[in-house]
């Protein structure tokens, strides 16, 4: 009896496997060649510059200022943390990459193209980003499909594979991790589907396989914020020989962890040598843990602490401000990366000195726009940055209502 059961089970398994062998991958959908020229013409006529983000700012803007690229040192990792060139590979990824096996633009217009956008995970920021992307996609009449792997790398890999299987005209992807992006990029590249990275910078090597990258220059932005930060500390503490600061860091493991602490660190080493880094800690994105951290810092450093640089302008900034209020320390300058409603509210009431302007909608919109430009046959640079701006109390009102 047992044997029979085993045989039946085995037969079923074999049957399934056999069936699968005959099942074939979906064939690529042929590009319609007939109306290509007409489509291109119509596509080029679409004007996306009139689109506005939810905060009333223009949706699509390019950064006007392009950084000067220094030459890469032989071994950046051997340099001290305070040397800006130590972070060369992270900061300047994409600027000087050697593109390999990039598909040529069909130059048949963006209208009607199927685009898959793979983000990193569900978050209010992502929602805003998707909204921006949709606005541009609608303007071009593109078929935009947005996939979210919920911060799971394995799922993102799977989604890339599924997208390859689906054979869209373009893939837009926020790499969950800068380094794993290499394999992701190679995979898509080998399948012949054009793709663009956006928002998060992958490593330089991954950029070789992508058409281009769009998004915020996190390092550059942080360097800017650091200067504003140092200026304000100097203003509040005229003639001080030492300005002690501490960093509340982003979660380890991603580029923001480095960009938002070592970016300002290396910038300030040159710009304001009197600024001394007292401590760096990554308490995560919980207000109460950040609060304890900052309270402990106040105990430990007392009046030496003049400023705090935070990687997040919502929960982390809230925790910092709470701790400062409790200790009655309104002399400390706090700046934070990000552009959330909570951060903007705190800039408005003066407890937070400055935050960065980082348009979420614009981020998604620029990615889609760049895709459209590629379909339209435009020459594309190796990367396209969204504009940088530091929001302070003076102009915070211009950025309401917040995008998320």
């Amino acid at each position: 009896m047992k044997k029979q059961v085993k045989v039946v089970l085995l037969a079923m398994v074999l049957l399934c496997l056999g069936g699968l062998l005959f099942a074939q991958g979906e064939k690529a959908v042929g590009v319609t060649g007939a109306g290509a020229a007409a489509n291109l013409e119509a596509s080029l006529k679409v004007d996306t510059s009139v689109l506005k983000a939810a905060d009333g700012q223009p949706l699509l803007r390019l950064s006007s200022e392009l950084p000067k690229i220094p030459t890469r040192p032989a071994n950046p990792e051997a340099l001290p943390d305070t040397d800006p060139l130590r972070w060369f590979d992270m900061e300047y990824a994409g600027w000087d990459t050697k593109k390999t096996n990039i598909p040529a633009s069909p130059k048949d217009g963006a209208i009607g193209k199927r685009v898959v956008m793979i983000v990193h995970g569900d978050h209010p920021w992502t929602t805003a980003c998707s909204n921006g992307a949709k606005k541009v996609a609608d303007a071009y009449g593109m078929d935009l499909k947005i996939l979210s792997p919920n911060w799971d790398l394995a799922v993102q890999n799977q989604m890339i594979d599924q997208s390859i299987n689906e054979r869209p005209d373009m893939i837009l992807i926020i790499p969950l991790d800068a380094t794993t992006a290499i394999q992701q990029a190679r995979r898509i590249n080998q399948s012949g589907i054009p793709f663009i990275f956006f928002n998060t910078l992958p490593t330089a090597e991954a950029m070789n396989y992508a058409i281009t990258w769009t998004g915020p220059d996190d390092f550059g932005q942080m360097r800017k914020l650091a200067k504003v930060f140092a200026d304000e500390m100097r203003r509040r503490n005229p003639g001080a020989k030492e300005l002690g600061i501490a960093y509340v860091q982003h979660a380890p493991g991603g580029s923001p962890y480095f960009a938002r602490s070592y970016g300002p660190l290396s910038e300030l080493a040159g710009y304001a040598p009197e600024v001394v880094t007292l401590d760096m800690q990554a308490p995560g994105f919980e207000a109460d843990r950040t609060m304890q951290l900052v309270s402990d810092w106040l105990t430990r450093f007392g009046p030496r602490l003049k400023g705090i640089f935070a990687a997040d302008d919502s929960a982390q900034a809230l925790g910092i401000i709470e701790a400062l209020k409790k200790a009655g320390r309104d002399d400390i300058v706090v700046v934070a990366a990000g552009n959330s409603k909570i951060g903007m509210d705190m800039v408005t009431d003066g407890s937070l000195f400055a935050i960065t302007y980082q348009t979420a909608e614009g981020d998604g919109a620029l990615a889609v726009q760049t895709a459209a430009d590629w379909f339209n046959g435009k020459e594309l640079p190796n990367r396209r940055d969204i504009p940088q701006h530091i929001i302070t109390k003076a102009d915070v009102a211009d950025f309401y209502p917040p995008q998320w």
């Binding site: 009896m1 099942a23 799922v155 599924q162 299987n165 991790d177 394999q183 090597e205 493991g253």
Partner: protein
């Protein structure tokens, strides 16, 4: 499985399909039925589900969690819990890739696997010898591993590049046999070995004995401490292997790559029918459960649903399974010890009325 044959054989002998027996059989085949239902449903309705490319994708994706589930199921069969599996996967992956730069995979991978086994050894000793509850111990090691992983990497993910490394990545990912890339083949090999080991070897059956009744096992001359420690070592080792393979395929290791695996594997193991009380369950069931969940997730993506649907469905399935099991044992408890004679008597009395 042998219980399953027992019921099946009993049915064959009597040559009639008794309703309650059929239900019992359905209960035992539960996870396989679930698998079949999901597979057929998705094949029929989900766009681009039933083609070799997508199925390969599913198999590749499932490889990591299926491999982790192998060892974890053994820990569960022993009646223990291992919350450190996800972090162990990350830890081992990070070690393998960091050391690769100096020594190459040939040396770094064995070291990383050993490091994983070391975590298991630590867990096992704390549980078996110091006699701390495994739930507590593994919360502790989970925290330590996180710190260790960060320390090793300095807070950045680790990546490799170069043709050699990429060649290995590509080799692992490209189908060798139809639909089956080496990484999947390796996983299948692990599954077969573990299944045979756990269900058919003396040593494997001892896991069930220890989980079923530790005292009995001890009195029967089984070294229960050693069995428990082995279970934890296997769990951590397989988690490490899974992490390393994943990292080798991506040529990179991130600092939270294993975090999502923990709850995934725990849910799948439970849905597969391995009880937390120990002594019950099986390797194959866990693997099939992981596969079923993965097909379900793939389906939600292919249908274009968001993550909320995915989270909700997995919660619902887990909740239903737990509820069903709890309710079944509740019913069983209510009727255990009922005398058939008296029930017949009752039925007769009712007939008279």
């Amino acid at each position: 499985m042998q219980r399953l044959y027992g019921v099946w054989g009993g049915m064959m002998r009597k040559n009639k399909l008794d309703k309650s027996k059929l239900l019992a059989l359905g209960d035992r085949f539960r996870i396989y039925i679930l698998f079949g239902v999901i597979f057929i449903f998705m094949s029929l309705f989900a766009p681009r589900f039933f083609n070799s490319y997508n199925l390969t994708t599913i198999l590749r994706t499932v490889s990591m969690n299926a491999t982790i589930a192998l060892g974890f199921t053994i820990v569960m069969i022993c009646g223990e819990m291992d919350l450190s599996i996800g972090r162990t996967a990350t830890f081992a992956a990070v070690i393998a890739l960091t050391l690769q730069k100096k020594f190459g995979y040939g040396i770094s991978v064995p070291i990383a696997v050993l490091a994983g086994a070391g975590v298991g050894l630590l867990n096992g000793i704390l549980v078996a010898k110091i006699k701390i509850n495994s739930f507590i111990v593994t919360i502790g090691t989970m925290t330590i591993l996180q710190g260790a992983t960060y320390t090793i990497t300095g807070g950045n993910s680790v990546s490799l590049s170069g043709d050699k490394v990429f060649a290995i990545s590509d080799f692992l990912a490209k189908p060798l046999l139809p639909m089956l890339p080496p990484r999947v083949l390796l996983t299948i090999l692990f599954v077969v070995v573990f299944h045979l080991f756990v269900s058919n070897s003396q040593w494997g059956r001892n896991f069930y004995m220890v989980g079923g009744n530790r005292t009995t096992a001890w009195l029967a001359g089984i070294n229960t401490d050693r069995i428990t420690i082995t279970a934890f070592i296997l769990s951590s080792t397989m988690a490490a292997v899974a992490g390393i393979l994943f990292a080798m395929e991506s040529s990179a290791a991130t600092l939270n790559m294993g975090d999502n695996s923990l709850m995934y594997v725990v849910s799948a193991t439970i849905i597969g029918g391995t009880a937390m009380s120990g002594g019950k369950g099986g390797i194959l069931r866990s693997v099939v459960a992981v596969l079923s969940l993965e097909m379900l997730y793939t389906g939600t993506i292919l249908f274009g649903f968001g993550n909320e649907v995915k989270i909700f469905i997995s919660g619902l399935i887990l909740a239903l399974v737990v509820l069903y099991e709890a309710y079944a044992s509740y019913k069983h408890e209510k009727t255990i010890g009922q005398r058939a004679v008296l029930l017949e008597e009752l039925a007769q009395a009712k007939e008279k009325i």
